[in-house]
Symmetry: D3
Subunit: 246 residues, 6 copies
């Protein structure tokens, strides 16, 4: 089969990521913070650490890592109301995804009875906010844990690896990496891949609500995803020098 192609903004190739930037230490009060940009998508990730763990975790003597996700009302083209009296299922799905992803690479026993909360606030949205959030949240988590080590609260960095995320999808029959909002809103297939620095899958979520897809297409989309993950892992390493810490 011939791979189909469509025109993408800025002449991007089908399997090319947008410009990605990870800026650390953007907040004075947070232990760890990172402004992550995937093109025009900008998410502010901030990690704070509190003593103790949620009630249901207490028996475990281990720590906990959780995440919150929200969009600023003016982050999108049409103002989104704040989630107050009731939560949106979408936001809850995303914050659960971020939390699971971060816990996969955290040694909760080594962390000890602390709770790390990583707040991911979308400043500007242009598709891929959840994948940007996972990628930036790892940097904020890393920096907060590093600060905790430096403060002598824990003996060593309780991170077993890196985790990053990227989206893939199908638009007009064409398989794409890292969709922007215009692409995402008319995609037939929509997929998110969270993976570690060893290339293993932490989370895969794919939906073909408009067009179910077969195993071959799944394979090609994952190949693309692997490329994106590799690039993001490299960037994380560049700003944190995580691998050099080992």
């Amino acid at each position: 089969m011939d791979y189909m192609e469509i025109d993408r903004a800025n002449g991007r190739a089908m399997d090319e990521m947008r410009e990605v930037a990870l800026t650390r230490e953007v907040l004075k009060h947070a232990l760890g913070s990172c402004l992550v940009e995937f093109g025009d998508t900008r998410v502010l990730c901030a990690a704070t650490i509190e003593e103790g763990v949620p009630g249901w975790r207490r028996a475990s003597r281990a720590g906990w890592v959780t995440a919150e996700y929200a969009m600023l009302p003016a982050s999108t083209g049409r103002r989104v109301p704040r989630e107050r009296a009731s939560r949106k299922g979408r936001s809850m799905e995303i914050e659960r995804l971020i939390g699971r992803s971060l816990r996969t690479v955290t040694n909760l026993r080594a962390l000890g009875e602390y709770t790390v909360t990583v707040d991911c606030d979308v400043i500007q949205a242009d598709g891929g906010t959840r994948t940007a959030a996972v990628t930036g949240a790892w940097v904020a988590l890393h920096d907060a844990l590093m600060a905790w080590v430096e403060a002598g609260k824990i003996a060593r960095l309780p991170l077993t690896g890196q985790v990053a995320a990227v989206s893939m999808g199908v638009v007009d029959g064409c398989e794409l990496l890292d969709l922007d909002y215009r692409e995402d809103s008319r995609a037939e297939v929509d997929m998110n891949l969270v993976a570690t620095d060893t290339g293993e899958i932490v989370e895969i979520q794919g939906t073909g609500e408009r067009t179910p897809f077969d195993r071959q297409r799944l394979g090609r989309l994952l190949d693309m995803g692997d490329k994106g993950i590799e690039k993001l892992i490299g960037l994380q390493n560049q700003v944190t020098a995580f691998r050099d810490e080992d």
Copy 2:
């Protein structure tokens, strides 16, 4: 690699589904209803149709299919409180999944300006409640739409196919189909597959929170899933004679 094996309840093979039963017409008032059983997991699915569509759908002149999911408090070993003031992210994820799955095989334009709500209430939980729910919900949806055709409200059945779901996972390194609660609660990898009667993927959700997994394992789990889907599609057809309707 040698496939690993563990002992399963009732001597089930690794890639064998539990006993599945689909019982139709279990409720007097609902247009369509189905009690679905995957082993000890029992979910009551009921479809009702109301005039009109949600506000944001109105411009489309098409119909809408949505789902609600809840567990009866006594459905599990430890009583689960009802979700009242606040919803659980897990339940909202599941009802969004059921809704998307059903819409994939529904021709919303042919349905016209009606809203179908499929309520999936877990009477007894033993793992796989969401996959059982999708599978039973399709039967309830089918029957409700059939009743609507018979009532002359719509000209023909607005269903383009069948949809069913099954879970796969990894326990002690062993790949399994259709996990029960005991297996599910200690799985390293947890995956759900929703697919159509043509074998195409509608939704894939896999998480390796405890143990990330590679592409080979993903492939083997999906092979198992295909087997399960095929069996469920067959059973749905048996009770509804959907394919004979064509």
Copy 3:
């Protein structure tokens, strides 16, 4: 005065109950469970026991019995929304009634510091859901307490008697026992009687919103109610052998 008569479904007499069925052990995880049927009305009652009592009961050193009541959305002819953000007064009244009724025949001191919750979920509604719920809830409570005795948690069954409930009403001037939905929805007088196995009144609730009634009518309705209660108490005894336990 001549007693007036109307035609009832299935040729029922004015003072005749519908078919009543009490099916025990319908749920795997609940300590006690009972599916109660009053004609087409079906309520699933499940009793679970948890350690401890609500804060305001703590000083008493005694136990607590409470109930929750909910209707499945598809249990009625017109889908009823789940009670989430706000509760309905009707449901709260019913669950308070069930709780009071069960406590009347429970020795809370002998129970000790445990809380029994009896969940009454209406699977199908055709009038009399609250009276069916009280009647079935007693069976679920009995079985849960029995299991607690068998588990050695309490020395003996802390039940001092049985409790059952039935409805009476006036339709087109005609006095009726155990109204179904069609009758109930146009009743001039609507009454519920909860009574013990010794025939004493635990609770009487009568409302003549459309037509106030006099003492003579109250007397005749209570006579009918006594007949219904007697039958229900007999059935409870048949399935639980409670009186033989003494």
Copy 4:
């Protein structure tokens, strides 16, 4: 059987009501208002009329009468929190009772498409707040409707009769009329009677949570209740001259 007697505050007889006072026109803005006092129990009842009816009443072309009930935090010995995020079942039961009672004597068709809301705010509580509320609410309702007639909004007073309420109970085996808080809090049987000026029963609610009761006791309690109702109906008439209006 010998009637038993206990000592009551102020040397009250067993079947004697407390001092009752009905003061009209206590609020400047409300169409109708009444401060009702049953001994130390004081409830401020205020009726307001708004155009239109609730959505579900619209097809009927008739009006609606509803009530709200609340206790001021300092109305009792121990401060009661305001009901904000969640309602108490008790309050909802009471406001439903008041609403039903008032509607029994209102000709909703003659009222036309208006909604009357009677707010019953307990200024001071000493037992019997719900029966005082029903009794005073009728006066407020009467006055508001009268004002509506005078304003030419409706042709004639759409009231078909009067309605009042009183409590009865059993304390230490002794049957009492109009219990104060000290009596009510240790009553074995607790009963409320709402009745019309013709002596017919609008509502009876009796509960023997601590001690079930028999038909003879029910009869004697209702005899007492009739006496109380008669007195209250007389007082209502005295302040409103309702019967003279006929």
Copy 5:
């Protein structure tokens, strides 16, 4: 500049307060209570004392004084719904203002670990409910603390002074003291002054949403306010004899 004048109800002068009345001991159960009237504005203030302080105050070993403010639905010309699921910003501002004002003149250390709650319920509203509430709340607070001293719970009255409040505003260019509702609703400038018995400012809130104002006008309005405060302080002293206690 010539001072402008407008016609006020009852021929009041521009800098004249309405009739003010402070009636103590209006509630049987509250430790301290005061019905405050500023013309037709009537607010019932009741102070109750509970053991302990809010969690965030615990380390301080000092007490706490807080207030709640609500309007009865029928207190205004157009029925106001009760604040249940969501609070109004206006009410929260007012109760925060009352609390701060009372705390300014309370020695929280001398109070010890008790929480005083002053409930201010508006029975009838005609402008100036918040200033009436502050003024009456101080009397209720005084009486509750006095009762606490008499009960031997605290050694001496932990009040360092008196606090009262009054409103000022500009209507049609004319500067007014103590605005009633008709004046308030069309005021260009709206100001509230809370001050102590020594004439010092506890709180000043002024808003010129319709017409910003200059420093000269602010000065003249404060001069008027001082006059009002002096009168209110005098009345408080008259009913409580606070200054004689010293």
Copy 6:
């Protein structure tokens, strides 16, 4: 009296503002946006315009300007939970203040039936977030209205002036302008001044919860405030050239 002095961070004078920066056009999707910085306090202000006005404004045929205020959880030293189920009184006070301030300088009739919402999200908090928010919100409002003019939606800029805000306070007896968090948290007197470009007062809020203050001190604090307002008005003009538009 000798003015007292304390040491301030960065050697600031008592009546000197922190570094102020106003950066426009920081968000791609918002019609108007401004990142405002008062030292380390950073607030992101974004204005969006929607068709129509709130229901209660409809009769007026005029537009509406409103504001929302929130703090990002990691904006402060100790993580602040998001306001979801319940709002904080403080936040509601602040957003009401911002809305009133902006409306004072907006010609709502000239705006026409549009609603402008200015979201003020605190990225980093170091005292004075509400005054920074008012100051930045005006710039965002200006830019959004300007865009609306350019889009031909309204004929001319419906702004009648500028509005800015600054805080003053007393710390250790010393009067200060523009308090940072360290100063604010131990201030005896805390005041906020909102004023226009003509120097008139739009809003004054002063509280002496710990130490009531006299008229002389009020005067000196307002003098300081005037200096701050003048500087902020100048900066707003510099970035928007508002006065040149006239």
